[in-house]
């Protein structure tokens, strides 16, 4: 059975139908990229799966813990980097303090931020903040990690450092669902790509399949990036 199953998901905001019957599966170890124009419903889909929005109908089957990396990081500004990462594992998951701190240091090392333990988010660059927020999500030992446009708030030169981190995680077989505008990246890192438009999945398949699709809507969308 798939790690995450979404069946016939529907969601409207007042009269605006944002998700029209979305179904998808994510397997353990799979990297799924969701692409599509603004307003296509891809962020809403992620927010429904992560319980930040309540779906109108449909089913979401997932057992386990998940992490979510936000577009705007949403680090806690009054907590140090270390506290941002360790507080929830200690308080919420009731894990051993020492073990959590060791885990956090390891993650910060992976993120290239070993020297930033005691820094506060406001002292970090956007790329560094996003790496801390990825470490914060990973510290919960999630079975699946969701990314909601993780590079959209970053300068182009900082985007690369986040994409590298996500690529490393993919190499470690972390299960990930990534909503992104970075086409080249999606193609490069994802096992499966879903193209959404107007609340429906227009195209779904391997990167090669999706990027060579004959679907006109898909071609129009990709054309904008190749122009």
């Amino acid at each position: 059975m798939s790690l995450l199953q979404v069946k016939n998901l529907k969601k409207s905001f007042d009269d605006n139908v944002v998700l029209k019957d979305i179904s998808l599966n994510v397997e353990k170890g799979e990297v799924l990229a969701i692409i599509g124009p603004s307003g296509s419903g891809k962020s809403t889909l992620l927010r429904c799966i992560t319980d930040l929005e309540q779906e109108d109908s449909g089913e979401i089957n997932f057992e386990g813990t998940f992490g979510l990396v936000f577009q705007n990081f949403n680090l806690f500004p009054h907590h140090s980097v270390m506290k941002n990462i360790t507080n929830a594992p200690i308080r919420v998951q009731k894990r051993d303090k020492k073990e959590v701190f060791e885990h956090a240091r390891k993650l910060l090392g992976q993120m290239g931020l070993s020297d930033k333990e005691d820094a506060y988010p406001c002292e970090l660059s956007g790329g560094q903040q996003q790496r801390v927020s990825i470490a914060r999500a990973l510290a919960m030992n999630p079975d699946i990690l969701f990314f909601d446009e993780p590079t959209s708030a970053l300068d182009p030169e900082l985007t690369g450092e986040i994409l590298t981190v996500i690529k490393d995680l993919a190499a470690q077989h972390m299960t990930m669902v990534i909503v992104t505008h970075e086409m080249a990246f999606a193609r490069n890192v994802a096992d499966t790509i879903i193209f959404m438009d107007n609340g429906v999945i227009v195209e779904e398949g391997s990167p090669d399949e999706v990027f060579s699709s004959d679907n006109q809507r898909m071609k129009d969308f990709l054309g904008k990036f190749y122009d």
Binding site: T50, D51, L52, F66, G67, L68, F70, N72, N74, L75, F76, P77, H78, N87, A88, R91, V92, Q93, Y120, P121, C122, R136, M140
Partner: protein, 216 residues
């Protein structure tokens, strides 16, 4: 009357003033948070109740509120209260008045926190209560501190309004001395005391603000 005698009498009154000041803060700061909670409640009747309460407290003179709280038990309910009630009435009146102002300050602070903070906390599994006290409230305190300082400084001076129900706080004492001596020197000394007290308040609050300055 010797100046030293005047100061001695005023210091006695000042103790009462400080008691009013501290007790009012002790009760109104938490009460304000509860009122703010009601004001932002999703339950409309509660929201309206808090709104009306704040509107009355802010819309009528504190001096009038003091008189009403003091006399209402007798004139409205026919209850004869002990002599101690005079002081209790002052604390009640100041507390419910300041709680209204604090409630609006808290509300502004709470509403200034980005919804992403709540979402991040939810995803990390914090309960509603943990989210409020660990994530939201520490940030709110930093935001509202300058406005709170303003109110606290006003409160120092407002304690003098207690003279209207004859509480022997500093201003009441100063007025009595001034009347019996036909001299305003006692009032000037009282003014100096209020000023020094507020300098101390401003100094302490500045230090607290500086301590919270470790992040933006």
């Amino acid at each position: 009357m010797m100046l030293s005698k005047v100061i001695e009498l005023l210091l006695g009154g000042m103790v009462t003033s400080i008691e009013i000041f501290l007790l009012t803060l002790l009760f109104s700061l938490p009460l304000g948070l509860i009122v703010a909670g009601g004001r932002m409640s999703r339950f409309a009747p509660l929201r309206w109740l808090a709104k009306i309460y704040i509107s009355i407290m802010r819309g009528t003179p504190l001096m009038l509120q003091l008189i009403v709280v003091f006399f209402a038990p007798y004139y409205v309910f026919g209850v004869n209260l002990s002599a101690d009630y005079r002081f209790i009435a002052v604390i009640i009146a100041f507390t419910i008045n300041y709680a209204a102002y604090f409630a609006e300050i808290y509300r502004g602070g709470i509403e200034s926190i980005n919804s992403g903070q709540y979402e991040a906390a939810q995803v990390l599994g914090y309960s509603k209560l943990e989210t409020f006290f660990i994530i939201i409230m520490p940030q709110v305190i930093k935001v509202v501190l300058p406005s709170i300082t303003n109110e606290v400084i006003t409160l120092v001076k407002d304690t003098s309004l207690s003279f209207v129900i004859a509480i022997p706080e500093m201003f009441t004492v100063a007025k009595q001395i001034a009347a019996s001596e036909a001299s305003i020197s006692a009032l000037l000394v009282a003014g100096l005391f209020y000023y020094l007290f507020n300098m101390l308040v401003a100094f302490v609050m500045e230090r607290v603000e500086a301590r919270l300055d470790y992040y933006e």
